[in-house]
């Protein structure tokens, strides 16, 4: 359970961090919360020669919001900060919910939102709501900056689009549309400290009548190596009012698209069924919230 020997860097600015990342390349791992990285090092799955701690860099640790434009969340923002931020709760409710379900209180106090995406676990909590809310990641290197949607950033189990010398520095979330609401739900054996068998987030926008679906994005987690954006559901629901029949169709579509596996936590068959249940539930909840109704 001991870590290998490594060289430790604690850059104070993003420029320093980027130059270190460029210089050290694949020899270095970024230390954000460390709640996944250090465990993998203790279990000898990873033996990095260098660690770059990005927790001293102030701009990576802030949440900012400009009305009408949206929010920017630094990569090293702690999950607990996300969970307790009133703006996130108010504007990006699904992200607030997912943050509150990640690990234990101790883990949430250390873990970061950037780390949760960069670790790229298929069961991760925050990527589905980030993707559903239209978040884009900002990737920096000494050569410059680029942006991409979260669901394009995560490429597979423990695989991301990060290249050598690149850092995920922040997430950009668009201003929520009027009459929109987002919701997150998961299936796990326990109600705390759970690794989700299935999780899901939806962001749903209603027309001015507060009944007709104007737009939506539903993203499933833990049923594919990457956060899976439901492709057919928008076609089923946009322009329609939510009925039980349409909810059933949407649930079936999500089921058909999910690619679950059987593992220690659940069988593929059970996961697939739970995709249908969660799809109905999050859509209903988001609909009620967007319409300003009391939640069902």
């Amino acid at each position: 359970m001991y870590l290998n020997d490594f060289e430790y860097f604690a850059p104070q600015t993003s420029a320093e961090a980027l130059s270190l990342a460029a210089r050290l390349g694949s020899k270095a791992k970024i230390l954000a919360g460390g709640t996944d990285l250090l465990i993998m090092m203790k279990e000898k799955i990873l033996k990095p020669e260098c660690l770059i701690n990005i927790n001293d860099i102030q701009e990576f640790k802030t949440i900012s919001y400009v009305p009408g434009q949206g929010a920017v969340i630094g990569a090293a923002v702690k999950i607990s900060a996300l969970e307790h931020d009133s703006l996130i709760k108010d504007k990006y409710f699904a992200l607030h919910q997912a943050a509150g379900e990640l690990g234990s209180a101790q883990v949430r106090a250390m873990a970061t939102v950037g780390g949760n995406s960069c670790h790229a676990s298929p069961a991760a909590e925050t990527p589905p709501p980030l993707a559903a809310l239209g978040a884009r990641v900002v990737i920096c290197s000494s050569a410059g900056e680029k942006e991409m949607p979260v669901e394009k950033f995560i490429l597979g189990n423990r695989k991301t689009a990060l290249g050598e010398g690149e850092l995920l520095t922040k997430f950009i979330l668009p201003e929520p549309a009027p009459r929109s609401a987002s919701r997150y739900a998961y299936i796990g054996l326990r109600d705390a400290m759970e690794i989700d068998a299935v999780n899901m987030a939806v962001n749903l926008v209603l027309e001015e009548d507060c009944r007709t679906v104007k737009n939506l994005k539903l993203v499933m987690g833990s049923v594919s190596p990457v956060p899976l954006v439901a492709e057919k559901i928008p076609g089923i629901l946009i322009g329609k009012e939510l009925t039980d029949e349409l909810l059933a169709q949407a649930a079936q579509a999500a089921c058909d698209e999910a690619k679950p596996i059987s593992d220690i936590r659940a069988s593929a068959e059970y996961r697939r069924e739970m995709v249908a249940v969660l799809t109905r539930r999050v859509l209903k909840q988001a609909f009620h919230a967007a319409a300003g109704l009391k939640e069902a």
Binding site: R190, D191, I195, V277
Partner: protein, 771 residues
Amino acid sequence: MGNPNFTQVGRSVPRVDGPAKVKGEAIYTDDMVLPRMAYGKIKRSPYAHALIKKIDYSKALALPGVLTVITGEEAPNKWGIVPQTANEVALAVGKVRYHNEGVAAVAAIDEETAEAALDLIEVEYEPLPVLLDPQESMRRANEVKIHDDAPENILHSGDQLFGDPDQAFAACTYILEREFHTSYVNHAFLEPQTALASYDVQNDKLQLWSSTQVPHYLHRQLSIVMEMPMNKIRVTVPAVGGAFGGKGEASPADFCAALLSRKTGRPVKVTYERSEVFATNKGRHPCQIKMKIGLNKDGYIQAVDFDNTMDGGAYAGWGMVVMFYTASMIHLPYKVPNAHARVRRVYTNKPTCGAMRGLGGIQPRYAMECMLDEMAEMMGVSAYELKMKNAVESGYRSVSNLHVPHSEYKKCLQTAVEKSGYLEKHGKLPFGKGIGLAGGYYISGTAYTLYQAYKPHTTVLIRVDTEGGVTVHCAAAEIGQGCNTVMAQMAAEALGIRFEDVHVVSGDTELGTFDLGSFASRLTYAAGAAIKEAAAEINLKLKETAAGMVGCRADQLEIKDGRFCSIFEPRKNIEWEKVVDLYTNSVGTLVGTGHFSPPRLKGIDLTRGKRVQGANIGHSPTFGFSSQVWEVDVDLETGKIRVERVTEAGDCGQAVNPMSVDGQVEGSIMFAMGQALYEEMKVDDQGKMINASLHDYKVPTAMELPEMNTTIVDSYDPTAPFGVKESGEGPVQPTIPAITNAIYDAIGVRFTELPITPEKVLQALKEKNSR
């Protein structure tokens, strides 16, 4: 509640060990560091069943900082908690029988070096076929043998016949037969096993600090493995972070620390990782139970037939004892006039099963309480009525000669049923919501020592002087169950002083007088009896002194609230301390000793008056009882079970510390609920555990906690010291069947396999709908 004349017993007081533990100041074995201390680590087998062909540790020895390496051949004496079946060794000799069994151990100047050295030990194995299921293990015994001396791969089996069940069944109106499968669970105590040994090479003495709950049995096993006389070994128990039976036998950590210390001449500490806790297990036996119950037309139980195949894992451990406990547990808490039990404990290539809170009771109780629920339905009566009708009363003697001196079981059933509204709710809640009832009991100590000896099971020495006040010496183990607090309360009660003024010295085989250990819910009763006897000796002597001081006869004095008072002339009284002062000045330090030996009850078939093999197990000086009503809410779409509320009522005799009883009951509820709904150790097809962490092995969290409404029913066992019984293992008994019965009430499915997971619930609902 209980005896109204008591002032110290029956007082709810915070535990004496509580504040230090809560503040993180308690010193556990792993917190200890000694000068020149080295660190030990154990090399473990990647095979679940294999011959060891060769071990080469030359490279490990060459690593700077490594002090020594040991292998099994250096200490091949077999140890085991049950002497008749002792078959474990400190480190494997010639063969490994479960995945991650220890094959060598290293001592190094620091933990990191010790860990690095493990990778340098080269072990050559010849893999053998791996047997993981007890049925398969018995079937393939002629082809694969786990132990040479167990030709059928069976540790032990038993056949116990009482009365004439065949004839009784023939006359029954209602007969039900069911099969149950229970799960493979671990205690999940917080503190992994840890041992610190310091061998004095000049005097050939060994001091061991260990996270054990049985300092005496560990003492004995160390003597065997180390080939040292017991009087050269001292075992000390620092603060222990939970045990629940899992530390109820020695662990290889103890032996490896001791052997490495002797070999290096330095103190050596060995602390397990969580994965090693799972690998060495000693948790609950998975049981494959076939049970048959017969009732007459009025619902009185006529006969029980019990067949139990137990998956014991690789070694003997507590196995034979647990096996006979499962057989004994069918005789209570209901009157069973005829019974037949056939039980066998089978070896497999998995981490060994052993003692776990409520051992031997959980599995047959699950079967019996669920079946009685079903039989009540067959008869068209409530389960409450059926259970009340058959419940045992004070003075009952079972056909197997178990004697119940005192029982408030009916009061437990009645209280839980009334407080929960069971009769109003059962069968009437909306689909998906349910309520279930179950009962249970447990022993308050045993009748025999594990090695057949006549010596008392507990000795207490009370020392009184002007300097230390009152000190109670007893080598009992405080493992978090609160024995140091209740021993002080009982001593204070017996001496007529305040509990705050009593010191307890426990957990040390040299400073404390003899005690068997913390298991079988024996300690409050046993220590209570010994304390009473020791205090009587002290009181007698002090009364003689006090009588002269106040001017009355010694036998006319009573001691109350710290004063000696004449019974007939209350104005003649004097402070307790002044009497002690005079006694000490004139005679010197005062000591009193007391012993406890339980009644040596025999397991006989009362209808024939014949001894029955193994039926001595299960006898106890008295028994605690408990009843629980659980309410559940099943999510019909996900299969997830939400436990909403539990209403419990328990007969623990006189509660010595009601606050502690509440803690035991609430802890029991969470503990057993884990096995019912969440916990299960899983191994792959090669016997490797795939969830050997508290990340993947799911114990319930505070979020799963149901609303708890617990009641200590008014009870006092007049045959027991201070009227006491157990309270730490009885309340785990009803939980699993009560939850299962509640799930049946909710969705109409009777689950006979644990744990009851959402997937199983959903599958069962589908099967039900397709019928």
